[in-house]
């Protein structure tokens, strides 16, 4: 079961990160907090898991990073969406909606088929 949750995360984590960063650039911890809030604690995974994903997205050119000083005077690595990242977010959002529509459609069709 844990495995399945991880797999699910793999696909959706990127979308969630992109969405979070589209609102404001922030650091890894901030992204984690934000995702937890947005997803209402559905994805109970290690907080650290976000870092490999961030690194992957930096490599793909969706994010860029810079070291900034936080409100309380600490150095932190901030992640920001690039133009390419913005396009990717739009595309993934579109894809997500399309596929969830399809899944919903399949589920309801099945229910109808069962009755027939």
């Amino acid at each position: 079961v844990e495995n399945r949750r991880g797999e699910l995360l793999q696909g959706t984590l990127e979308l969630l990160v992109l969405k979070t960063l589209s609102l404001a650039p922030t650091h890894g911890w901030g992204i984690g907090q934000r995702i937890q809030q947005i997803s209402r604690d559905v994805f109970q995974v290690n907080q650290g898991s976000v870092y490999p994903a961030l690194q992957r997205m930096v490599r793909k050119g969706w994010l860029e990073t810079e070291w900034r000083v936080t409100e309380n005077g600490r150095r932190a690595r901030y992640y920001r969406l690039t133009a390419k990242g913005r396009r990717q977010l739009a595309a993934e959002q579109h894809e997500w909606e399309r596929s969830s529509r399809a899944v919903n459609w399949v589920l309801s069709a099945r229910a109808e088929g069962g009755r027939a």
């Binding site: 650091h27 890894g28 911890w29 901030g30 984690g32 995974v45 290690n46 907080q47 650290g48 898991s49 870092y51 490999p52 994903a53 961030l54 690194q55 992957r56 930096v58 490599r59 600490r74 150095r75 932190a76 690595r77």
Partner: protein, 886 residues
């Protein structure tokens, strides 16, 4: 940047401060958040870490997510491979050692080929432009050309930018009151050193005036080795003098280190200008200036863009016009048109034979390398099967096939490069064997050093083998069905791998059997050659050469010297028997005489001519079968005295049939004259060639010898060193300027004559043993593995009552199947190999059944031994254990 990446790749916990800082920030934020919610600091810290997850694993994953270049992948795989090898020392050492043997043997042979065929002559500029011009297709006939002819020919040959002649001669040197010694010298014509592009280590070369045939010729150039040996390392020798033969020469230059002439066989230490020719031989100087004098060998440098073929055509045209102009002098060259051969180094006469031998050795050693590769591929396969689970997992996780092959290849490279480096060490130790041989009749080649060519060859060869032996396991890994091993929980194994391994083992058996047969044929050849009844006692007789002519002796004074020497050696304590002869009955050059019976028609017979003293036959242990030997009063008589001759049995039979030849007259056409002599005795036949070919011979008294040189033959009760001392002292007392040469037993001279056969037998024997060892390891691996694989089957058989003997039979059947296929293929291979050895083997058929059976029998024993251990293990399988589910 690169360094940082390297560090990251090779250290387990890299110092990635940025990542650490980011993670620490994360943990601090989480801890502060928890503390703000009222959690105690220590607990907050613990919970923050817990929420974060495995620090190291995430750090590693993050770094991995940055992505790797191809190069970084290689480095990562390398690290992986090195760790894997270190984790598995048994596997690693067997694999590396196996390969190192294969690579080492190949490298040793390459190094030999390199030093014989490829290595350029030291100090020579642009050696590719140099050519050798030969004036005879038959060795032993005309091999040179005169100074005047060279000048005229060069004018007719624009394809040759420059030419120069050289003539190698042995000279006698003596420093101070020391013992006289022989030195190889060369008279050089034209601008020899400038044609070669040599730069003097000290001093200068001969000028054009000094090189003129009429010049005084009292100047010499010496080699650097000779300079160091005679004058000490730090000495500038320009202007120093040296005694050569009976004259004094002034040193004007020193050649670069390592240069001893343009041929690898030459060990020239002294070079003289043409004017020295007369001084060397105590004759009028004009000899060097005559068109008819024949003594230079020719090297040339091609003009830019010209080819050896062009040069040859122009030289032939030039030679033909010289023949037309001077028909009586140059008539000899009608038959022997000049030929031009590219490159200097290996003498032209040895090139073909050497290349053939090297091809054979390289072929043999490639087979050995192939066997080693098969072994390592086998090892990797069985390890690959053990790692099937890991590989399947990685594929399931999305690793691409190409990526997996890359990983395998990297592993192979690590393994093979390590083996390559160790292999160079192996080659160096094999080089010792090679050096110890006076190979192919060449004087000791100490050039078997590992230069950059050899090292490049070893490492490239290693990498190539790496690719070869990795391919099989890599392909097997890719072919493996993803779910196979996961489903069967490691119990069954793809039959693919098993068949491949069996095939590799069969190839190994076949190849090593072929090598073994080849080696046995050569060993028997050497035995047969050694066992030849030669008609004399080679082991007991020591021989010492001497030549007084360079010291100015004429034939009369030389005869007196021989007499005095013989008499003083005869009287020495410990000398049982002594004799002086003009030539030795061992392989080498000898004058040929023509014998005929006066008044009888037909061609004269051609025989080897010896001039010997009275005790010659007694010293050598050659029987006199009819008549008698020479007496002490006859031995120094000139041929005109009619002392008579002794014939060998074959000569007697060819001349007189069954009639007793004693007291009959024969006509002897010798070096200078034809004489009529009575036969006084018949001696047992003597085999003088390397093989048992009987050469008929005629013996005359020593006094008849036309040449002034000779050999002291001694049977002594002392050691060889003591005897040499005695003979040297005896000669020094007569003339301290004459050195002894070729001091050795006749047995040693015979061994030198069969050096090539001995070398081949040794090398092939060594390679065959290595091959058999590797094949045995391979066979053992396959059988042991199949026992493991069939554990359950064997367990069940034993559970239902099969006795141990049946289990053994099961294993034996498998070994026998491998053996018989291997033997079948190996016999074919051996047939092919022995056919290519046909002209090297002696008194044994290339299809000699005994040899083949011995090799096969040996292999059967090896197979039995290799299967015995796994078979024993099989009989000890506990049936209960194997049936337990895993």
């Amino acid at each position: 940047m690169i360094r940082e990446r390297l560090k990251r790749l090779f250290t387990r916990r890299p110092a990635d401060s940025a990542l650490d800082e980011e993670f620490e920030f994360h943990l601090d934020m989480e801890r502060e958040k928890l503390e703000g919610a009222g959690v105690a600091p220590a607990e907050a810290r613990r919970r923050a870490r817990l929420a974060f997850g495995g620090y190291d694993r995430i750090a590693e994953e993050t770094r991995d997510s940055r992505g790797f270049t191809w190069f970084e992948n290689v480095l990562r795989d390398t690290r992986h491979a090195v760790r894997g090898l270190a984790r598995n020392p048994g596997f690693s050492s067997v694999a590396i050692l196996t390969l190192a043997i294969g690579i080492g043997a190949t490298t040793a042979v390459f190094s030999l080929a390199n030093s014989l065929l490829i290595r350029p002559v030291a100090g020579v500029r642009a050696p590719d432009e140099l050519v050798v011009v030969q004036f005879s297709s038959r060795p032993g006939l005309i091999t040179g050309i005169s100074h005047v002819n060279i000048t005229d020919l060069h004018a007719a040959t624009p394809a040759l930018e420059s030419v120069a002649g050289y003539a190698r001669r042995s000279m006698q040197a003596r420093a101070g009151s020391g013992v006289a010694f022989e030195v190889e010298a060369a008279v050089v014509q034209g601008e020899f050193f400038r044609v070669l592009g040599l730069r003097p280590r000290q001093g200068r070369w001969f000028t054009a005036e000094e090189s003129a045939p009429a010049a005084a010729g009292d100047l010499i150039v010496i080699s650097d080795r000779f300079r160091v040996a005679q004058f000490g390392d730090a000495t500038n020798v320009v202007g120093r003098t040296l005694h050569l033969n009976s004259a004094v020469y002034t040193i004007i230059g020193v050649t670069p280190e390592g240069f001893h002439g343009t041929e690898h066989t030459s060990m020239t230490d002294v070079w003289l200008p043409p004017g020295a020719y007369g001084r060397m031989y105590h004759r009028p100087v004009d000899a060097a200036d005559r068109r008819a004098s024949i003594f230079y060998e020719l090297v040339g440098r091609l003009a830019p863009g010209a080819t050896a073929v062009q040069a040859e055509l122009q030289l032939r045209a030039g030679m033909n016009s010289l023949i037309d102009l001077f028909p009586d002098i140059n008539a000899n060259y009608v038959e022997f048109q000049p030929t031009v051969h590219a490159g200097v180094g290996l003498p032209v006469s040895l090139r073909e034979g050497t290349a053939r031998t090297m091809r054979l050795l390289l072929g043999v050693v490639s087979v050995l390398l192939l066997i080693a590769c098969a072994n390592v591929a086998n090892l990797l396969l069985s390890r690959g099967l053990a790692r099937q689970g890991e590989i399947t997992m990685r594929r399931a996780l999305g690793a691409s096939g190409a990526r997996l092959v890359q990983q395998h290849l990297t592993e192979g490279m690590v393994l093979s490069l390590l083996s390559g480096i160790i292999g160079i060490g192996v080659a160096a130790s094999l080089g010792v064997i090679f050096r110890a041989q006076s190979l192919l009749g060449l004087p000791a080649i100490d050039g078997l050093t590992l230069d950059w060519r050899v090292i490049t060859f070893a490492l490239c060869g290693a990498m190539l083998t790496g690719v070869i032996f990795t391919l099989a396991p890599a392909v097997a890994a890719l072919r493996a069905h993803i779910f196979g091993p996961l489903q069967s929980a490691g119990r069954s194994v793809g039959s693919q791998g098993v068949r491949l391994r069996a095939a590799l083992t069969v190839v190994q058996i076949a190849a090593s059997l072929a090598l073994l047969v080849g080696a046995l044929l050569l060993v028997r050849t050497v035995q047969n050659l050694r066992g030849i009844e030669r008609g004399y006692d080679a082991e007991a007789v020591l021989a010492y050469g001497f030549d007084p002519s360079p010291q100015g002796y004429d034939s009369e004074s030389a005869r007196a010297l021989r007499r005095r020497l013989l008499e003083s050696v005869r009287g020495l304590p410990g000398i049982q028997s002594a004799s002086v002869a003009s030539f030795l009955p061992v392989p080498g050059d000898r004058p040929l005489y023509r014998l005929s019976v006066p008044g009888r028609d037909g061609d004269p017979i051609v025989v080897a001519g010896f001039e010997v003293s009275a005790d010659y036959f007694r010293t050598l242990g050659t029987r006199i079968v009819a008549g008698r030997a020479f007496t002490g009063s006859e031995e120094h008589e000139p041929p005109t005295a009619g002392a008579g001759v002794i014939l060998s049995e074959t000569a007697a039979r060819e001349l007189f049939g069954t009639v007793n030849p004693v007291d009959r007259l024969i006509e002897i056409g010798g070096f200078t004259s034809t004489t009529l002599q009575p036969v006084i005795g018949v001696a047992e036949d003597v085999r003088m060639a390397a093989r048992d070919h009987v050469m008929p011979a005629v013996y005359q008294p020593l006094g008849a010898a036309a040449l002034s040189h000779g050999y002291v033959l001694v049977r002594s009760s002392l050691t060889a060193a003591q005897t040499e001392r005695l003979v040297t002292d005896a000669l020094v007392r007569i003339d301290p300027n004459i050195p002894l040469f070729r001091a050795e037993s006749l047995a040693n001279a015979l061994r030198r004559a069969i050096a090539e056969e001995r070398l081949l037998a040794r090398v092939l024997g060594l390679f065959a043993l290595l091959a058999v060892t590797l094949a045995a390891i391979g066979l053992y691996g396959v059988i042991a593995y199949s026992v493991v694989r069939r554990r359950s089957e064997i367990g069940i058989r034993m559970a239902i009552g099969a006795p141990a003997s049946e289990v053994v039979r099961l294993i034996a059947r498998q070994s026998f199947a491998l053996l018989s296929i291997g033997v079948l293929l190996g016999t074919l291979g051996a047939y092919w190999l022995s056919r290519s050895l046909e002209n090297r083997i002696y008194e044994v058929s290339p299809v000699d059944p005994a040899t083949y059976l011995a090799a096969i029998g040996f292999f059967a024993v090896v197979t039995a031994l290799a299967s015995a251990i796994p078979a024993r293990a099989a009989t000890r399988i506990d049936p209960i254990e194997t049936l337990r589910p895993q």
